[in-house]
């Protein structure tokens, strides 16, 4: 025993001495990292942690929770000042509850330089990782909802004529939710070829499970009908924080979200994103929406039957949208991709007692090299957030994409992130609560307990309660800042 520990000590010393120049020495310091369970997001900490441990002599310990518990654990630990966690890897959307109260430390400029933050897409570098203009987090992951479809079917001439005869326009990547539904309906139940075997396929596959982040999928649909071009305020009006969630645009989106089960996998009401992305990769449906993960999973031969057969696109938009200020439907196509979630970001707890080491590990994990490697690896949950990741298809091809798919995938991501009508998350104090009430009520509508209108009326009422409880003026200020509202233009 003593011999062993002596040996370990010697080994550590040797490593510490042999550590590359510039690496700081954090021997004897333990950095506790907290994030969600599983190989996605948290997995890289276990994989890459030892490299950092070897270089610095520090020690990494990982604490994980199911996504549903993570927010509450992080916020409770921080608000009680327990100092238990040093590095937090969490959803960007929680900024209002984590950055705003000052629970995490400001990221020094030197660290931002070290991770080459000028390579990071401004959406992430300047908005998602900052609060009130101050950077409080390091970008780790980039997230936006995208459309996935079986291009071997949708771009297939075999079906084109039938489809056109039936619906009166050409079959192809859907631009509106109406077209999306038409395509789903057309294929639903049809016997098609998947990886050499003929089997019936479902039209669409969308996550609808309660308490499992399914509301992002609904919000992606609501964006097309409820986002007013030129007006960044989507969830609330920027005059007085009136929730828009029960306006006719949002209601129509919910009705269609409920209806899609009729032309898709009927079990989807109990599927979360984890289920839908696994199933999409096994070729059970034609259409799907998800974060970037489906791209990398679909080219992983171990789990995918549809390698190279998946097309990528910007989310469909509305064929019309509800202008809540004018109070009327506007009959124009309205693409409004939703930057759902905003990605996982890394912060250092202000009450940490090893801030130096924590910061060093965080900047190692968020460094260009590490993140770029993770982004092209399936199952890490890390999606592109840097220019360098989007500039070149080579690493993607090396990771298993074919040239055309890689270009298609990167295009879809870029077009989403850079879209002028893109919609950002709520991103104010209480966002988790706003979204969990939305989640509970849309779940009731999905289960047929109440109508879409009733569900969203309930949400609007609850959102008003939350806003009043948290202080309406304070919330309005935050929301305006979050969406970049400049007043009446």
């Amino acid at each position: 025993m003593t011999k062993l520990s002596l040996f370990v000590l010697l080994a550590l010393l040797t490593v510490a001495i042999a550590a590359p120049a510039g690496a700081q020495d954090f021997s004897g310091q333990t950095v506790v990292v907290v994030t969600q369970t599983g190989s996605a997001i948290g997995g890289p900490v276990l994989d890459k942690g030892p490299i950092w441990e070897e270089a610095t002599g520090g020690n990494i310990e990982l604490q994980t929770f199911a996504f549903g518990e993570l927010f509450e654990k992080i916020v409770t630990a921080l608000s009680t000042g327990s100092g238990d966690y040093d590095v937090l890897i969490y959803a960007a959307d929680w900024a209002g509850d984590i950055m705003a109260p000052g629970y995490v430390m400001e990221i020094p400029g030197a660290t931002l330089n070290a991770i080459e933050s000028d390579d990071v897409i401004p959406l992430y570098a300047d908005r998602i990782t900052t609060w009130g203009g101050v950077p409080y987090a390091l970008p780790y992951d980039g997230d936006a909802h995208m459309l996935y479809y079986r291009k071997d079917l949708v771009d297939n001439e075999m079906y084109a004529a039938d489809f056109e005869a039936q619906y009166g326009y050409a079959l192809g990547e859907p631009a509106t939710w109406t077209q999306y539904r038409d395509i789903a309906e057309f294929f639903n139940g049809m016997e098609v070829d998947t990886a050499g075997s003929m089997a019936p396929i479902y039209g669409a596959l969308e996550a609808q499970r309660r308490n499992a982040q399914s509301y992002w999928v609904y919000l992606s649909r609501a964006a097309g009908y409820g986002k007013v071009p030129g007006n960044p305020c989507f969830f609330f009006s920027c005059d007085d924080m009136t929730p828009q969630v029960n306006n006719p645009g949002w209601v129509r989106a919910l009705e269609e979200y409920i209806d899609i089960r009729n032309v898709g996998d009927p079990e989807m009401i109990n599927y979360d994103v984890a289920d839908t992305r696994t199933l999409m990769a096994t070729g059970t449906a034609v259409l799907n929406l998800d974060w970037g993960d489906v791209g990398t999973i679909s080219v992983d031969e171990n789990v995918s039957l549809v390698k190279g057969a998946v097309g990528f696109g910007v989310l469909p938009g509305g064929d019309s949208y509800w202008d809540y200020e004018a109070g009327e439907w506007v009959m124009e196509e309205n693409p409004a991709p939703f930057i759902a979630f905003g990605g996982w970001i890394i912060s250092i707890a202000a009450d940490s007692d090893v801030t130096e080491a924590a910061l060093d590990f965080a900047s190692f994990l968020a460094s260009k090299d590490v993140v770029n490697e993770l982004a092209v690896t399936g199952g890490t949950g890390i999606n592109p957030s840097r220019f360098s990741q989007l500039a070149d298809t080579a690493p993607w091809v090396a990771a298993g994409f074919d040239e055309e798919s890689a270009a298609d995938y990167l295009d879809a991501i870029q077009n989403t992130i850079n879209h002028p009508n893109a919609v950002l998350d709520i991103r104010i104090t209480g966002s988790a609560e706003y979204l969990s009430t939305l989640d509970a009520e849309i779940a009731r509508a999905l289960a047929g307990e109440i109508s879409a209108q009733e569900a969203l009326d309930n949400v609007a009422g609850l959102w008003n309660d939350i806003t009043d409880r948290l202080g309406r003026d304070a919330q309005l200020e935050q929301y305006k800042a979050a969406v970049g509202y400049m007043g009446d233009m």
């Binding site: 190989s39 310990e61 604490q63 929770f65 199911a66 409770t76 630990a77 966690y85 984890a274 289920d275």
Partner: protein, 297 residues
Amino acid sequence: MGTRGRRWLRRSSRRPLWGSAILYGVVIFWCFIVLFPFYWLATTSVKRPIDVSRGPNYIPYIDFQPIPDHWEEMFGIQRESTERHFRNSLVSAIGSTILSVVIGAMAGYGLSRFRYYWGRLGWDNDNIAFWIISQRFLPPAIFIVPFVLLYNALSLIDTYAGLIIAYTMFNIPFAVWIMRDFFNGLPVDLEESARVDGATRWQAFIRIVLPLSAPGLVAVAIFSFIFAWNEYLFALMLTNFNAITMPVLIAGQNNTRGIEWWFISALTLMAVVPVIIMGLLLERFITRGLTAGAVKG
């Protein structure tokens, strides 16, 4: 035991054949209901993911090829985490069990042997006992908010002490209940003669009463241990890292890459084995302890 055994024998010889058939039928059916999930966990913990999702596969080596990978990972790359959770569960369960047994036995003895009267409330022994027992039935949800605030103020969040104190609080009512009834059933003569011989009350309690109460103490210990070992709500609420327990680890296996059934199965088996071993060793005490205690209602 002897006469009793013979009586059973007599009764069983009277049992008609169809009676035996039904009896064994029910026993076998229920054993299957109980054991099959355990079997399923055991096999799932050695299945490849593909064997879990493309099955169901029942019998190792015939339906699927078992692999040790998941167990290896749990004791390999995840070793630190597995050990930490397991150790924490053990410490908080054992700590609170000891405290509950000691405090419960003392209070039970007091309520059984002395006469109390809380004048201000007009409560006698029965009222006090009822009050203590009734605490067991308060919904834990009512403690969520005050406990978070209280533990925060006392810096007890994420400490062994914090969990042990909470679990002791939940176990004491049950312990008092069982122990009081148990002591009520013990004749007082032995203690009195010891005290006539010069032993103090405390000595009589420790040397005479406690050894006679082993079944009751063991029953209380088992129930306290099982409660603390399996508790989820307060463990989730009051711990972050250092004192976090197995149920929280198991519940946390739900993630965005889908549920990793094989890890859950392995973890579940790990969590259940100590309790089952304990149950096997101490099973006879459970019934005896309870027969003396709870049974009387």
